[in-house]
Structure formats: structure tokens, C-alpha cells
Amino acid sequence: MKKLLAIVLALVMVVALGAPVAFADGKTTINVMSFTDEVPNMINRFVELHPEFADKYEINTTIIATTDGLYQPALDQALASGGADAPDIYCAEAAFILKYAQGDMADFAAAYEDLGIDVDAAIAASEIAPYSVEIGTRPSDGKVVGLGYQATGGAFIYRRSIAQDVFGSDDPAVVGEAIGAGTQSWDKFFEAAAALKEKGYAIVSGDGDIWHAIENSSDTGWIVDGKLNIDPKREAFLDLSKKLKDNGYHNDTQDWTEAWYADMAGIGDQPVFGFYGPAWLINYVMAGNSGGSAPGEGTYGDWAVCPSNVGFFWGGTWLLANKNTPNAEAVAEIIKWITLDDSEDGLQYGWANGTWSGEQGTKDTVASGTVMAKSNGELDFLGGQNMFDAFVPANEYANGSNLTQYDETINTYWRDAVRQYTAGNLSRDEAIAAFKQNVADNLDVEVDF
């Protein structure tokens, strides 16, 4: 027994010492840091398609999931420490892109133009969604440091059968009119909710569904000049949420829970009319939870998209480059192919049509309007509707100026406060005070009480 233990221990030591694997075949290593394998897979595809690139460079990827709160500390540390292990290319999600493009970590990012990309001309030619450029622009020098491949402008995704029952038609124009598409107001939405309620339908699943729309349609962000700022439109979420709950206009679900998914399959307490969301919500979430995979099964095929009453976007991934990268040329090639190439050989054409990996996958909206104009966004899930008709204007309409780098945390505090108010645990004033206290105690932000 003891000998066995000794042998195991010795083995452990040997293997552990030998663990750091050397990269020594004369190629230059490009370090990539991301939170899913999506961007790394794209880069691998780029290398596959460009043998002359593969001869010179190899890719070393680091993937750390955001879910356990580990990605940002690791990325921050790697950027701050520099050296050979520092990432050349790194990715940031909508929830924290501001920190890397405009906030505390913005100085680590390289301006696209300094990498040798003619960025202004390329943005104009590819018609990149303006909100996406706005978010990726560093305020200190006005230069673009981050761009994405997806566009995540949001629309209203609704059930055709319910639309026909309540509004007499499932035409996106009719439904858009009914919920007040483009009005930047919630008045028509609540009229529609009342009409739906009469026939036993809920207009949305939970208050989270309208929150994303409200958050991004506000005029100002959570922080203005270092001080906490509650935009009137965001404050109104308290009242709108209360109104939804008190009238039974929703099923009182929380996003990403069982009951929310059930509403996509149409098996919740009341049948739910629609969801606010971008194209990825259809592909990643709704299609899988519709209870079928072909028209006629579950709610599959019974959906359609119309423009939203307020403009918003939700989610998305931005690519940034390290300002100290020794391989600017190679980094520029990769970034250009993913974010700015509007040809049929670029990533975005394949992404929009679902063909980028060589097989037919899911279609998605992309950052470049030019690419979407020559792509086909028809989906069986939407009963054959071309989703680009609704999402291209949605991308124009989204606003990127109301974000701050602390949004993820502040939103959590705000949504909890609102839930306490709608559940009757706190009064309206108490809820706002609790929210302010949280921000004051946990963030380096000034708060007026």
C-alpha cells in the first residue's frame, strides 16, 4: 500500500512537472481569449481557408466561461500582466464590452486603424449597424477598438395563431400597428395586452421580457458624470411591471427559468403572445423550446416577427485586439475577415445564411447591412418569413449610447428592487431607496439619496 502510494506520488510529480507544453515548431503563436468556442471556431475556420496564413501562424485559444464570474478577472489579469501569454485577440460580451471599449480597461485595446485597417471606409461600405460601432468606439480618442459579427437589434416575436384570433390577421404590419411599432411608447402595447387578456392570452411571459426593451430604449445610462442616474424610462419600468402583474398580463415568469421556456412551447398558465428579442433568441432559445422541429409540431412554424414599439438590442460579442500585440498584421487579417468583410467569402455572409462552417446551420442577423441585403433570412420556424425584413431596421433603430461599464451589476440590483415592489414586499420609494443603497455600497459611484 505504501509503495503504491509512493509510486503514484512520484508519477504525479513527473507528470505535473512536464505539464506545460512547449510550442516549438517555428510558427508564431496568436493568443485568443474568449468565453465560448464561437469566436475560436471562426478563427480556426479562417486558418483552414487560408493555408498561407496557417504556414506562418498558429492559434492558441483560452476559453473561460462567463457563468461562474471567472472570465473577466482572468482576462483583466492577463492584459495587465502582459508578456508572451497575453491575448492578442480577446472577446467581450454586451454585458461587459463597455469596460473594455470605453471604461477602465479601454487603454489596453488597440485602435483598429492602428492595426492597419481602413476602418471608417470599411464600416461605411459594409453598412455596419451604427449602435455596434458606437459601443466599440473609445471616447478618449474617438477611435474604433471593437466590432462584432452579429447584430442583435431586437424585434417582437409573436404567435401567428393568437394574432389571428385577437387582431384578425397574422400580418407583421397589422401586429406591429397593434403593439405600437416605432412609437417609442408603451401605450399601444398595454391596449393590446388588454385585448389579449380578454381572450385569455398573456402578452408576454414575464417582466424580464420587456426589461431588455426598456433598458436599451432609455435616453441616458445608469451613470452620468460619475453619479447614479435613474432615467425616467427605466424608472417607469417599476410602474409598467406593476401594471403587467396586477392585471395578469403576463405569467409572472423569470427569464431563463422552466416556466419561461414552457411559455415558448405554449404550455404555460396562459398562452403567451410574444417575446421581445433579437434573432439569436429565435435560433438559440425559442426554436429548441418550441416543442417541435418542423412546422406543425408544438409551436414551431407558428411564429412571426414584427418591429418593436421601442428600439433596443440585446447581447452580442465584440472583438478587440491587444495594443501590445507583436503580430498586428495577422491580428488585423483575422479581425477584418470576421467583422468587416462583406464579400461572399467573409465570415458574415456564411453566418447570415448559416453556411459558414461548411454545413447548413442556423441563420442569424449580422452586423453588416450589405451582407444581409444579399442573404436569405427565411426561416421555417417563422412560417417562411424572411426575418431580415424586421431585423435590419431594428439594427438601425438600436441605441448604443446608454450603456455603462457597471450595467450588469446595476441591472441585477434594479430588477430585484422592481420585483420586490411588484410583489408588494416594498413600497415604490422603499424599492428605489434599496436600489440606491446597493449601488452606493457596492460600486465606486456617487449616489444622491
Partner: protein, 283 residues
């Protein structure tokens, strides 16, 4: 009540004991059943009903998703094994040794050392973790499994446990008689003290193994290369981001992660079940 009745045990009391034990056992096994059943269910099924007791038919699909990612589960499994075995062996051996120093010998700084060990144990780990990471980064021990194994040499709570155990169970006269027999101190520790500590070592061994095997926070920050990632780090990568999760594959990964723990636990559990404590003394 007569003595005879007491010896057989009151049937009502016995029934009550079994009743409580069975309920607790069901509560203990329940999450594992859910985990294993969910590993056979599709992401859709899990999202619609997270808890179910009816197995489904998607095990193979989940396996494909799980193995279709950029990492290799076999590597993860081996890495986890290296870390857990290494750390457990170091913790158990050196903690026993340190505790022995605190109990078997009287030395000037003994009290100070014990207080020091207790203080180390009370430092909230959330905070020093980041300092630890920065330090590992500076001495180039990131992406090296040693960074997770070697610190196991100091395990204050294990030392504390062994000390408390020895205070109650280590007969110091036994050590004296060993000395009279001419046994050297190190030899006495290895061949006389350690066997007495077996049940304590088994419990601490299990706890340390489980803790290091499941540890996610430090490994996911330290190990960024696929070749050195441990199993829990790989499973957490399956979660990716909130927008698109492969629940079936995640549960399969969790189930696979927990299996080796069962094996180690059942192998060591005989020491918890049977009283082998004083085998060393009597033999």
C-alpha cells in the same frame, strides 16, 4: 425497564431510528438520481422540466456534444486525478506530521504555532485567492498542475483535526515505550503513530479528495490551456454563456465527474464504518 429489554432495544425506538435513516437516505440519493437521469435527457426536456424521474433517450446525443467540444474529457479526467491524488496524499501526510509535532513534543513555540495555524484557517479565502493567483502568475506556475498540488502541504483545518484527534486518541506512553525500544522519532511516527491515525486519515483523505476534485475557482483561473484543464473546468466551459447552454451535456459531464468520487469514497469508507482505530496499538 429490565436490563434484558434494553439489550434487545425497544422496537418502537428502533422503528423510529430506521424511519429517520431511510428518509435521510432518500434525501441524500435523490440529487444523484436526478443528475444521472438528466444526463439521458435532451436540453429541451431539461429546460421544460428540470427535475424528472423518467429517463429519456438522448444519452448518445449528449455524449456527442460533450466530446465534440475543443477539449478532451480523458485529459481532463487524468488531470483531475493527478491533482486530487497528489493534493490528498500531501495534505494527509504532512498534516498528520504537523499535528504530531504539536502533540507528541513539547517545544517553546508550540502554542504559538498552533495559534498561527488557527489564524491561517480563519483568513477568508475569497480574498487571498486573487493574491495567490497574481503570485503564481509572477513565478510562472500558471498552467502548471503543481500550483494546485504543492500548496496542499499546508492544510490548516486538517492539521487542526489531526491534533484534536491525537489529543484524545494517541497514547503518549506508547511513544515512550517505542523510544525505549530504540525506535527513531521519524520511524515512530511512520510506523506507530500513523497506523493509529487511520480512521482520521481516511476521513480527511475523503474530504480533501472531494474538495480538490470539485474545486473550480482556482483551477479555472490558473489553468487556461486545454492540456492542463481539470474535469470541473471543462464542464463549466460547457455552460459557455447564458444564451446557449447544452444542459444535457452539462448533466452528463457532472455525472461523469461524480463517478470517480463514488469509487474513492466507497474504497475509503470501510475505515469510517468499522472500528479499525486501535488495530495498531493492539498488534
Amino acid at each position: 425497564m429490565s436490563k434484558l429489554e434494553r439489550r434487545d432495544g425497544n422496537p418502537v425506538v428502533k422503528f423510529f431510528i430506521y424511519f429517520v435513516c431511510i428518509i435521510l437516505a432518500v434525501l441524500s440519493i435523490f440529487p444523484f438520481v436526478v443528475m444521472f437521469i438528466n444526463s439521458t435527457r435532451s436540453t429541451f426536456e431539461i429546460q421544460q422540466h428540470a427535475v424528472s424521474l423518467i429517463p429519456s433517450s438522448h444519452l448518445l446525443e449528449n455524449w456527442k456534444v460533450f466530446t465534440g467540444k475543443s477539449f478532451n474529457p480523458t485529459t481532463g479526467f487524468l488531470n483531475s486525478l493527478i491533482v486530487a491524488v497528489g493534493a490528498t496524499a500531501l495534505t494527509v501526510y504532512f498534516s498528520t506530521l504537523t499535528a504530531y509535532a504539536l502533540v507528541a513534543y513539547s517545544w517553546k513555540l508550540r502554542g504559538a504555532m498552533f495559534t498561527f495555524i488557527l489564524c491561517v484557517m480563519m483568513i477568508p479565502s475569497q480574498v487571498t485567492a486573487i493574491g495567490f493567483y497574481q503570485f503564481m502568475y509572477r513565478i510562472h506556475l500558471t498552467n502548471n498542475l503543481l500550483a494546485l498540488i504543492l500548496p496542499a502541504i499546508y492544510a490548516p483545518s486538517s492539521v487542526f483535526f489531526f491534533r484534536q484527534f491525537m489529543l484524545a486518541s494517541l497514547p503518549l506512553e506508547l511513544l515512550d515505550s517505542a523510544r525505549i525500544d530504540g525506535s527513531r522519532e521519524f520511524h515512530t511516527f511512520n510506523h506507530i503513530a500513523m497506523p493509529i491515525m487511520k480512521p482520521a486519515m481516511a476521513t480527511q483523505g475523503i474530504f480533501t479528495f472531494v474538495y480538490t476534485w470539485n474545486n473550480l475557482f482556482m483551477p479555472s483561473i490558473l489553468l487556461t490551456r486545454d492540456e492542463v484543464k481539470t474535469m470541473p473546468v471543462m464542464v463549466s466551459m460547457l455552460k459557455g454563456d447564458i444564451y446557449k447552454r447544452e444542459y444535457g451535456a452539462i448533466y452528463l459531464g457532472l455525472a461523469l465527474t461524480v463517478l470517480p468520487l463514488f469509487i474513492v469514497y466507497f474504497a475509503l469508507s470501510k475505515y469510517i464504518i468499522a472500528g479499525v482505530a486501535l488495530g495498531g496499538v493492539k498488534g
